[in-house]
């Protein structure tokens, strides 16, 4: 019997004009199944079918059949399917219930009414399976994103599910955290459980994948993972001209927040037409440096001087900005405020958003939202561009579009500073790479960049 099977399954979200999944027929037997496809294609919707969140939590209409471990998902509520299907979501911050690791992992077991005396052993077993026994007893808020996501994985595994579903589990993580989560997913699959993982960083999984499930425009097709090859990415041509005037000059600056020093003795000059990438571990001070350069944070010591002109600042969670009726309105808002004459459609087309320009931004998939927020912030002709992890959750084509957009802004003499973990983005556009770690800003070594 297949672990999960869909037969002519079609699903519409409430009030949607088109189905999110169309006539899907396929089955999953076991091993590691990788779900891939462009943003907004239906990956997250498909994954939510396996534990019944679609349709039980989200509502809407469906036709066809869907079964998990022989149970019909229509007849079985999600809270019952939870005993067979473990689910890990994208954002590690938004799936935490309790304050400590042990209590968090025990939450599902408490819900399943596992006797209290048995729970500690089951928690220990799950922490071991997720490779995080060292986190036992820790407080959740002291954990990094990667650690939190592995706690979420342990919470799912504690129920001893036969099927484990991970929905873009690494989209919010730095490379080290992502590698640990994906290694745990591979290990679980090798231990005989069925794992379904949706992911943009396919190269990290394809070597171990048993099945590649492509989802595009709500349709599903199966591919042999051995036939997969990494998409070729052509970086834009370099500027070919020396950098222009100083746009930002930071000298001897120190900064921090909540009384905690984060950066000290920062020296940084960025010129017009130059792209500087910041790399370094989470918590190293990259975001603090961007906020200092933007003028959102006053230096505790030293000076920050900026050339007059508009600053385009993309925060880590840019989708939080979106609240206007359409994507086009969001872009127009920035353009109107900055006094530019650019038409919103230009940047929307550049980022592949023309099709969704008249939709409410919060109705879009997470990848499309990210692009909408990028468009809303980078529209017009900013003098200084500050981007904080701009490729989070972006698929390959969206990243390529972003790279072209950055190159265009650079060619218009904008000074660009990007805080990013994305090695490909750095390689494609950065003129210089700086390491921000331990409160200091230094030139990144080749060894650090290879990591």
């Amino acid at each position: 019997m297949a672990r999960a099977a869909l037969d002519r399954f079609t699903y519409w979200y409430p009030r949607a004009s088109a189905p999110a999944l169309r006539d899907v027929t396929f089955s999953i037997e076991g091993g590691l199944n990788v779900v891939a496809g462009p943003s907004g294609g239906g990956k997250s919707t498909l994954l939510r079918v396996f534990n019944g969140l679609v349709p039980h939590f989200h509502g809407g209409q469906m036709s066809g059949r869907a079964e998990v471990s022989g149970r019909s998902i229509v007849d079985t509520p999600t809270r019952r399917l939870a005993r067979d299907v473990g689910f890990v979501f994208q954002d590690p911050e938004l799936q935490t219930v309790y304050a400590t690791v042990d209590r968090e992992v025990a939450f599902g077991l408490e819900n399943a009414a596992v006797p209290g005396a048995e729970i500690p052993a089951r928690v220990e077993e799950a922490l071991e399976e997720a490779g995080i026994t060292q986190l036992a007893g820790r407080t959740m808020r002291t954990l990094s994103g990667g650690e939190r996501q592995r706690v979420a994985l342990a919470s799912a595994l504690a129920m001893r599910p036969q099927l484990v579903v991970l929905d873009e589990p690494t989209s919010q993580l730095d490379p080290e955290g992502a590698a640990l989560v994906l290694a745990a997913a591979r290990r679980i699959a090798s231990q005989g459980r069925t794992v379904i993982v949706s992911e943009h960083r396919l190269y990290a999984l394809m070597g171990a994948a048993d099945q590649l499930v492509m989802v595009e425009d709500g349709r599903v097709s199966l591919t042999d993972p051995r036939a997969w090859s990494e998409p070729r990415f052509t970086p834009p041509p370099s500027r070919g001209a020396p950098a222009g005037n100083e746009v930002v000059c930071v000298s001897g600056a120190a900064a921090g927040f909540d009384g905690r020093p984060v950066l000290s003795e920062v020296e940084l000059v960025v010129r017009g037409g130059e792209v500087v990438a910041l790399m370094g571990p989470n918590g190293g001070g990259k975001t603090t440096l961007l906020r200092l350069v933007a003028g959102l944070l006053a230096p505790a010591k030293g000076r920050v001087e900026r050339q007059p002109g508009r600053i385009a600042y993309l925060p880590q969670n840019p989708a939080a900005l979106l609240h206007r009726p359409t994507v086009r309105y969001e872009v127009r808002f920035t353009i109107d405020r900055s006094g530019d004459s650019e038409k919103p459609d230009a940047i929307l087309s550049e980022l592949g958003l023309t099709q969704v320009a008249d939709r409410y931004p919060r109705d879009l998939s997470s990848g499309e939202r990210q692009r909408a927020a990028v468009a809303a912030v980078l529209a017009g002709t900013p003098t200084l561009v500050l981007l904080d992890e701009p490729t989070r959750g972006m698929d390959a084509s969206a990243r390529e579009a972003l790279v072209r957009l950055i190159a265009r802004l650079r060619d218009r003499e904008a000074a660009v500073v990007i805080a990013t973990h994305d090695a490909e983005l750095r390689a494609a556009v950065a003129d210089r790479v700086l390491m921000v770690a331990g409160g200091r800003v230094t030139a990144a070594t080749n060894e650090a960049m290879r990591r």
Partner: protein, 270 residues
């Protein structure tokens, strides 16, 4: 600690006698200093002193009652005109004393216990609500972080706070993001079987001998003070019309001193 807080509040709100109110206040300060550390409560004490001083001043300038007139302002001055009396000042100070003692009695819930400890201690019948509350508490820092991010990013897009309507540019995205965050959390809880039936617990906060001792001392304090009041040992006090010194009896004072039980228990435990 809930029993201790309740006992402090009972005595402070039940009696009008400032001597017993002051005794409870002293017991609360000593207990909090022993449990949370003096450095952590220093700011709280300062804030409470300000509130108490304000309450005293308000009564002094607004209640022109009492026999002992300190000075007078012409009655033609609106609101302030009239005699300023010692009785009004002392009654105001007693009010401030009550506010200070009541705030400090409730302070252990924020200073010495985590919200999750309190939620875990809820009775079994409230376990589902407790889990939901615990989950919501985790969203609070998220909302605060979103507010900072959105207001900064909107500033960089040219937004400036100009009147209440302009705040919609920040408040609306923060509210929408928070609602979406709670929906995602609910989805995650549902996916982990929340609401599928009666729950069990990996561990419940257990009452140790010292906890029972503090509870017993708190109950004894309430009982002794109630008996003292009924028997007339804890005499009431009135500031008006003429100020008199409060009477102090050993028995209700012992009731107040029983509120120092947590300090003794913690010392013995060390």
């Amino acid at each position: 600690m809930a029993a201790w807080s309740a006992a402090c509040l009972f005595i402070v709100l039940f009696t009008t006698n400032p001597a017993y109110k002051a005794a409870v206040l002293a017991a609360a300060i000593v207990t909090l200093a022993a449990g949370a550390g003096l450095s952590r409560i220093r700011r709280l004490l300062f804030a409470i002193a300000l509130v108490a001083a304000f309450a005293a001043l308000l009564n002094f300038v607004s209640a022109h009652l009492g026999a002992t007139v300190l000075f007078s302002l012409p009655s033609s001055i609106p609101a302030l005109g009239g005699p300023f009396t010692l009785e009004a000042l002392v009654f105001g100070l007693t009010g401030g004393l009550t506010i200070a003692a009541a705030i400090l009695a409730a302070a252990p819930f924020s200073l010495m216990l985590s919200a999750h400890d309190v939620v875990d201690a809820l009775p079994r019948v409230l376990s589902r609500s407790g889990a939901a509350i615990a989950a919501s508490l985790n969203l609070v820092p998220e909302v605060a972080a979103t507010f900072v991010q959105v207001s900064e990013a909107q500033r960089m897009r040219g937004w400036r706070p100009r009147g209440p309507r302009s705040w919609a540019e920040v408040v609306v995205p923060v509210v929408l993001t928070s609602v979406e965050g709670s929906i995602q959390l609910a989805e995650s809880m549902e996916a982990r079987g929340f609401g599928s039936g009666p729950r069990t617990y990996v561990s419940r906060p257990r009452m140790h001998g010292s906890d029972w001792l503090v509870t017993a001392a708190s109950i004894a304090a309430v009982a002794l003070f109630a008996v003292s009041s009924a028997a007339g040992w804890a005499a009431p006090w009135f500031a008006y019309p003429t100020l008199i010194a409060p009477q102090v009896d050993g028995r209700p004072l012992i009731a107040c001193l029983l509120l120092l039980a947590p300090v003794l228990v913690w010392r013995a435990r060390r």
